[in-house]
């Protein structure tokens, strides 16, 4: 009886509170974290409350904001370059079949390079103060972007293009009504995956190379054995990315992907 009542209460909550599933999964994670932190020393895994207090302090410190800005800048620049290069490769492959075959072994090699190897090689070649993060992000991300964007252009519906040609759509109308809705889902996936991978790669590159950036600061705190600070910096950076996801990507998705496509 009690279980049935609990289930119906949960159902009621889910109905009345829109974000119940998301919030409950996060709550469950924090509860699990709390219980595990009780069983180990606090220097190994601090409690959620103390970590969140530290996160709050970190989030509004100029030290964090300036380092986060540097990391995001590196990740963003690398992502933009990879995105542009991937477009050049994709479009040349679509229009010239021989170029597709020319690029494919390079793409395969690019896809199989582990990030750490890429970082080591770049550090050796350019020294630890060079644009390591940028280069690593571009090298690792370009083949991935190529793989995600190629099908978008390959699968453009020829029948709809012909229809648009017969009815003499203006270029802007053709792009807005025919092409963008077809490309949008691929682009959103590629941008999401690209942005997520680029900041991870940038942080990893900073750990190995720079004197600044979130990655470098996390490494410093790790060397000091301050797990609370490591977690606080990580969570603070994560919050910024969540903000980007909800502030930018979800709105972009709402704008670009029409209703019927989502259904």
């Amino acid at each position: 009886m009690k279980i049935t009542r609990a289930i119906s209460a949960l159902k009621h909550l889910a109905r009345s509170f829109r974000f119940f599933p998301e919030v409950s999964s996060l709550a469950l994670l924090i509860i699990a974290w709390h219980f595990v932190s009780k069983t180990v020393p606090s220097f190994l895994l601090p409690s959620p409350l103390s970590t969140f207090l530290e996160t709050y302090k970190t989030l509004f410190s100029t030290d964090f904001l300036s380092n986060a800005f540097l990391t995001l800048k590196r990740a963003f620049n690398g992502f933009v370059i990879a995105f542009v290069v991937a477009h050049i490769l994709v479009l040349s492959s679509i229009y010239i079949a021989a170029l597709k075959r020319f690029w494919s072994p390079l793409i395969l090699i690019g896809l199989s390079i582990p990030a750490t190897i890429g970082i080591f090689v770049t550090v050796v070649m350019l020294g630890s103060r060079g644009p390591i993060a940028l280069i690593v992000v571009v090298i690792i991300l370009t083949p991935l972007m190529y793989l995600m964007l190629y099908p978008a252009f390959q699968n453009i519906n020829k029948g709809l293009t012909e229809m648009a040609k017969v009815y003499r759509f203006r270029r802007s109308v053709f792009l807005r009504y025919v092409i963008v809705p077809q490309l949008a889902p691929y682009y959103l996936s590629a941008i999401r995956a690209g942005v997520n991978d680029s900041w991870k790669l940038a942080i990893l590159a900073e750990v190995f190379s720079f004197g600044d950036g979130v990655g470098y600061r996390i490494l410093q705190y790790f060397n000091l054995f301050s797990i609370r600070q490591v977690l606080a910096w990580f969570i603070s950076f994560l919050l910024i990315l969540v903000l980007i996801e909800y502030g930018v990507f979800q709105n972009l998705e709402r704008f670009l992907v029409p209703k019927s496509r989502k259904a």
Binding site: G159, L160, E162, M163, K165, V166, Y167, R168, F169, R170, V173, Y177, V178, P181, V257, P258, K259, S260, R261, A263
Partner: protein, 246 residues
């Protein structure tokens, strides 16, 4: 009032396969011509050449008015499949083709054409929310809304079941009588050809494709309707069908 003149048209696919070789045909203004022939004889290729979707290797396709002036005609094209934009509503699918022609009255034109094709209640729906027959109706509406000089229909009912196709043939004939456009359509259904066309151009099976013969079917529409019903249906089925389509 646009006439189509096709002079010495040649089209090949690769080096070995020539589908049209010095093919000539004149389609008079307001004529309703059916290109009739087996699958693979080049009906769709021919329509695509006329619509400018592919280029001939040699020869001319001229669109002329009376008195003889060359023009670039407004073309409506109903493809074998509806080719609607699945991410936009029916209303948007129709208004988007009016972008170049009639921006001010677009909404009222859409309303009028939807009433004509009996889809007024579906204007806010998406293509995947209506049946195949209704989608093809929207495709026909899209071709007609631009007030075309020339209308191409490429086996427009081949993907539909016979009930939907029969109903659409009745409706299309009514619409074609209202719209004064030179119409070229393809089919391999003889009854459809007789029912909808004024002239049937029978194409050969042999390649390159040539004109086997031209049959004039210009007789009273009522006779056509009766003939169509007699041919298609046995008496009891016809009666039920008639009831259903009333």
């Amino acid at each position: 009032m646009v006439q189509i003149e096709i002079n010495n048209l040649t089209k090949s696919f690769g080096r070995r396969f020539t589908i049209f070789n010095n093919f000539s045909l004149t389609i008079k203004a307001n004529d309703r011509v059916c290109l009739f022939g087996p699958s693979g004889c080049g009906k769709t290729t021919f329509l695509n050449l006329l619509a400018g979707l592919s280029r001939p290797d040699s020869g001319d396709i001229l669109f002329t008015t009376n008195p003889s002036n060359l023009i670039e005609p407004r073309v409506g094209y109903v493809f074998q499949e509806p080719r609607l934009l699945p991410w936009w509503t029916i209303e948007k699918n129709l208004s988007v083709v009016l972008d170049n022609i009639d921006p001010k009255d677009s909404l009222s034109s859409v309303r009028r054409i939807l009433k004509l094709v009996r889809l007024r209640d579906h204007k806010k729906k998406y293509p995947n929310e209506i049946s195949g027959g209704e989608q093809q109706r929207v495709a026909i509406a899209r071709a007609l809304i631009i007030k075309p000089h020339i209308l191409f229909l490429d086996e427009p009912f081949s993907h539909l079941d016979e009930f939907a196709a029969a109903q659409l043939r009745f409706d299309l004939l009514k619409l074609l009588e209202k719209v004064k456009a030179t119409t070229v359509f393809t089919t391999h259904n003889p009854l459809e050809a007789i029912y909808l066309a004024n002239r049937i151009v029978v194409l050969s099976e042999k390649k390159p494709t040539s004109i086997k013969r031209v049959i004039n079917t210009r007789f009273a529409q009522q006779d056509k309707k009766d003939l169509y019903r007699e041919f298609i249906f046995e008496k009891p089925i016809r009666r039920i069908m008639h009831e259903l389509l009333k």
